[in-house]
């Protein structure tokens, strides 16, 4: 008996007797002897609650979290303030511990929250319909690829390199199963190369993928990209940042078919990358090919308003191999955080938040570009994130500069070199409402000094820094 089970010795004998067997072992008689394990698993012994807590706290203490330093990391996950009401609501047993709402009569809370979430996502993205969440942003983008495959069956996808590298990679991974090839179109001055984009799209392209803003922070005019793709009958999928949509014209206005994105910024923790949620919204004509759960409004026998999971004939448990997706468990609790967060911000609040961030981001970009050797990658408008070139020779020198800043408790951003090899000395810098002007000034100061020190030490070592 462990602390989570309740069968005492006397319970056990009574229960075995009721079953009509003499021992626990007999219950496992169906397992062939050669597959039954006699030795215990080679795992540590169990610990008491206080010991487990101490061990997990010790592991936590060996991480440098966003509480330990001033962090300018972004790249899809952002250090926004998560209001206390979200912690309080998500800890409620009634939201935390149910399974997927298979019995709607006792799941009205979760189902209504899904319905509200879908409404908020439609409003944010300018799309007609939304599902109740998928795993995360990158997997949402790949799921849109499957929708395109089911819709038009064409053999090729085209994706702008403005889309986050991890989302592009995820699409590529899943496309091996779809039997679809993926063509990437590069950037010019931070925005999708329109000539190359137009060249890449033909009647064999099933879907074309764009981003708002791009991974390097740049906001580009989506209309020419969308028009070029639609002229060939390709579906257009836009990956969007939900906070930036507080200030940017939503993808729906450009006529995209599907809008997906990463939802972490909406009231979810950083959590070293998950769980968060992905959102998936589309034009009404794609409704019956959408993946995942969708809540719908209806009435009960007495005429009372209620909510159910609906259009389930799309789903794996009904349609099996003909389903629009294999997804079952998604991210309901994280999506709940998302809709509570959007309600907490409210109509005016989201705009104010996005405007504040946009102003601070513009300020930060100017401040960093005043540092000798640093210049912006792409000159276009930005909302919450921007990329700079540090004027360093390689990735290792960027990493040394970042670690030097970390010594002063500033994490200056994400080195781009691995994911965006065309910018080996690039740094992606993200701003949230938590990063004050004072902190941005400190970043400029610390980064400036770290770059000086790096150049001095590489000059001393006879290195080739420019």
């Amino acid at each position: 008996m462990s602390r989570y089970t309740a069968v005492t010795e006397s319970d056990r004998s009574a229960m075995l007797e009721a079953i009509g067997v003499g021992s626990l072992d007999e219950l496992f008689a169906e397992i062939p002897v050669e597959l039954r394990r006699e030795r215990p698993l080679e795992l540590p012994d169990g610990l008491g609650e206080a010991e487990v807590f101490a061990h997990l706290r010790e592991l936590a203490a060996r991480n440098r979290s966003a509480d330990d330093e001033i962090s300018f990391l972004g790249g899809g996950f952002y250090d926004h303030y998560v209001p206390a009401v979200i912690d309080m609501l998500l800890e409620r047993s009634e939201f935390l511990t149910p399974y997927t709402p298979y019995q709607p009569e006792v799941s009205q809370g979760g189902l209504q929250a899904m319905f509200e979430f879908q409404t908020a996502i439609c409003e944010l993205t300018g799309m007609d319909v939304s599902n109740a969440s998928v795993y995360d942003g990158p997997s949402a983008l790949a799921a849109a690829g499957y929708l395109a495959k089911l819709t038009n069956g064409r053999p090729r996808f085209v994706i702008s390199r403005a889309v986050a590298p991890q989302a592009r990679e995820t699409l590529r991974t899943l496309s091996a199963g779809f039997g679809t090839t993926v063509t990437e179109v590069g950037l010019r001055d931070g925005a999708t190369d329109l000539a190359a984009w137009t060249e890449a799209i033909d009647d064999e392209v099933g879907a074309a993928f764009v981003a708002l803003p791009g991974y390097l922070g740049t906001v580009e005019d989506l209309q020419p990209l969308v028009d070029a793709a639609r002229a060939h009958g390709a579906l257009v999928v836009c990956s969007a940042d939900p906070i930036a949509l507080g200030i940017l014209e939503p993808p729906g206005s450009y006529g995209v078919d599907v809008c997906v994105g990463e939802g972490q910024a909406l009231g979810n923790r950083l959590d070293f990358g998950g769980p968060s949620f992905g959102f998936f919204a589309a034009r009404a004509e794609h409704l019956r090919r959408m993946p995942g759960r969708i809540a719908g409004e209806t009435r009960d026998l007495d005429g009372r308003r209620g909510f159910v999971l609906t259009l389930q004939t799309r789903e794996q448990h009904i349609r099996r191999e003909k389903a629009t997706s294999n997804i079952c468990t998604a991210q309901a609790l994280n999506a709940l955080a998302g809709v509570v967060y959007l309600s907490w911000l409210g109509r005016a609040g989201l705009c104010e938040l996005a405007e504040l961030i946009a102003r601070r981001t513009a300020y930060a970009r100017e401040r960093l570009c005043e540092i000798e050797g640093v210049h912006a990658i792409g000159g276009g408008p930005v909302v919450r994130e921007f990329a700079v070139s540090l004027g360093l020779p390689d990735r290792d020198s960027v990493r040394r500069v970042v670690l030097r800043c970390a010594g002063e408790r500033v994490c200056p951003g994400h080195p781009l070199g691995r994911d965006v090899p065309e910018h080996p000395d690039g740094l992606l810098v993200a701003i949230t409402e938590r990063r004050s002007r004072e902190e941005i000034d400190l970043l400029a100061d610390v980064l400036g000094r770290a770059l000086l020190a790096e150049r001095a030490s590489s000059a001393a070592a006879g290195g080739g820094g420019s």
């Binding site: 989570y4 309740a6 056990r12 075995l16 079953i19 626990l24 597959l35 394990r37 698993l41 795992l43 012994d45 610990l47 997990l56 706290r57 592991l59 936590a60 203490a61 991480n63 440098r64 009401v85 609501l89 800890e91 009634e94 935390l96 399974y99 997927t100 298979y102 019995q103 009569e105 929250a113 319905f115 509200e116 939304s130 109740a132 969440s133 997997s139 091996a176 779809f178 906001v219 949509l245 507080g246 200030i247 959590d271 990358g273 998950g274 409004e297 209806t298 209620g306 009904i318 468990t329 998604a330 991210q331 309901a332 959007l342 309600s343 907490w344 409210g346 946009a358 990493r399 004050s436």
Partner: protein, 504 residues
């Protein structure tokens, strides 16, 4: 039951129907940088013309709305939840506490690995423990749920056959499989070939032998299967599949029956997925988050999703002296399946659970889960419930069992759905219904190890009472539930005329 009576007589309102223009819960920090006209920052044509019509509510309104909503949910913390195949075991609150520690919850995924050593060590320890439980050498924590793990496994299979120059076309799945299996097969670009079930509830070996050919890429099998039965031919099944060069995939949805008792790797399986939100008690959140790590054999290890977590002896080649690192240089990898490293918050909880239980506790959990299931079935027999709801197979079960409601439907005119709905009035979440598909009017019952004997007794009594009542007046069950926030809902109407968002 936690479900509150309907909130007054008031009509249900959504958050969009509350509040008033100008109300808010959020106040933005003061502007501390020069206030430049927005036109200078972002051209007007790219800016939003109309704000998103989000709710306008105060914080008290917001809290009251969602607390009231929560009271319209049934939840595991307040009631028995024997939902078959979902392993609704107790979710220790310790796990929420440790997952919320800032060192875990506030760690950015792009933090340099040298500065996230605690997180990477936790993931390493979890990987090693899962490898030991599966009996397979390599693990990827990246997949976000069971079905995502399945997709990883099928894409690994595809890469494995492609590397050997043997593209194949089909995947075998038993007719008892979860719907995720065939759906995954399609997403992975293969055709589904169904396998029949024999009289004892296992894979029909003759059917398997007839269908196993060189076109088969993989067999996907759940064991114990969705009938709650361990397939005693498992080693022979794997042998047949391996003889044609296919991979053997073990859907770990039902792993809660066999922890420390039998390992899929020892039976020869090449790929196993875990559901951390089932077997390892990550709370399910009303439909996620989950986490679906996979364990694989040495032959499939090169194809695992990247980045791969590595432990380095001494200094690493990249100038890092960190012990744990993320390796992106994996030329044969299928690539990523999602962003970053997976659902780390779920890893923290699952790892805490493993620390609490240890080897002996895991085995005890499975033994008790199987004991509880068989005991509940015995109680149902004793009370005569099985006369109208007989088990689909007269055998000892593993951690769950399937009843058929066919006799109750025939003799009382009460369907499985009616029984499930009447259980709601008794304060229970019903079992999984109408699955597996090959059992008529199925009820799939999984009590889990964390329930007391008294709860099982009471649940058995409730089922007996529902059948007794139905004999006298079947209309009662047909009209159930009566005590829930709403009664039966018009699902057909919802699908026919979909209302999927609030009109504004």
């Amino acid at each position: 039951m936690s479900v509150a009576p309907p909130v007054g007589a008031e009509e249900v309102r959504t958050i969009f129907e509350r509040g008033a223009p100008g109300r808010r819960a959020f106040v933005a920090p003061a502007l501390d940088v020069p206030e430049r006209p927005l036109d200078e920052l972002i051209p007007a044509r790219l800016r939003r013309r109309e704000p998103a019509r989000l709710p306008e509510v105060s914080e008290p309104e917001l809290v009251r709305h969602y607390v009231r909503l929560s009271r319209r949910n049934f939840d595991l913390d307040s009631g028995f939840y024997p939902l078959g195949s979902c392993t609704m075991k107790h979710n220790p609150r310790l796990h929420e506490r440790v997952a919320a520690l800032p060192g875990h919850a506030r760690l950015h995924p792009l933090t340099d690995p040298a500065r996230a050593q605690g997180a990477l060590e936790l993931m390493w320890r979890l990987e090693r423990a899962l490898a030991e439980i599966a009996g397979l050498p390599a693990v990827s924590l990246q997949p976000s749920a069971g079905s995502h793990g399945e997709l990883a496994g099928i894409l690994l299979t595809r890469a494995y056959h492609a590397a050997r120059g043997e593209p194949r076309r089909t995947v075998l799945t038993p007719d008892t499989a979860h719907g995720t299996n065939p759906a995954t097969v399609s997403m992975g670009g293969y055709q589904v070939v169904h396998l029949g079930t024999d009289a004892r509830g296992g894979v029909d070996l003759d059917d398997l032998r007839a269908k196993a050919d060189r076109d088969v890429a993989c067999l996907m099998l759940t064991n114990p299967n969705t009938l709650g039965l361990f397939d005693r031919n498992i080693a022979e099944i794997v042998r047949i599949v391996h003889d044609v060069g296919a991979t053997a995939y073990y859907d770990g949805a039902n792993l809660n029956a066999t922890l420390g008792i039998s390992r899929p790797g020892d039976a020869g399986f090449d790929i196993v997925h875990f559901n951390l939100h089932k077997t390892f008690t990550q709370p399910h959140g009303g439909g996620g988050p989950g986490s679906g790590p996979i364990a694989v054999s040495a032959a499939l290890e090169p194809y695992l999703p990247h980045p791969v977590l590595v432990r380095r002896g001494g200094a690493a080649g990249n100038g890092s002296s960190a012990e744990f690192d993320l390796d992106y240089d994996r030329p044969l990898s299928i690539g990523r399946l999602r962003g970053f490293q997976g659902n780390y918050g779920c890893f923290v909880r699952a790892y805490a659970y493993l620390c609490s239980l240890g080897a002996a506790g895991l085995r005890d959990a499975s033994e008790t889960a199987v004991l509880n299931a068989n005991y509940l079935l015995a109680r149902l027999r004793e009370l005569g419930v099985t006369e109208l709801l007989p088990p689909a197979y007269e055998r000892l079960c593993m951690h769950e069992f399937v009843l058929s409601g066919a006799p109750a439907k025939r003799e009382l005119g009460v369907r499985t759905l009616d029984i499930a709905k009447r259980l709601l009035d008794h304060g229970y979440h019903p079992p999984t219904v109408y699955f597996p598909l090959l059992v008529e009017e199925a009820l799939l019952v999984e009590p889990t190890e964390t329930e007391t004997r008294e709860t099982l007794d009471e649940f058995a009594q409730a089922l007996a009472e529902i059948l007794r009542e139905a004999r006298e007046d079947p209309e009662i069950a047909r009209g159930a539930p009566y005590t829930t926030p709403v009664r039966r809902l018009d699902e057909a109407g919802a699908a026919r005329r979909p209302v999927l968002r609030q009109g504004l």
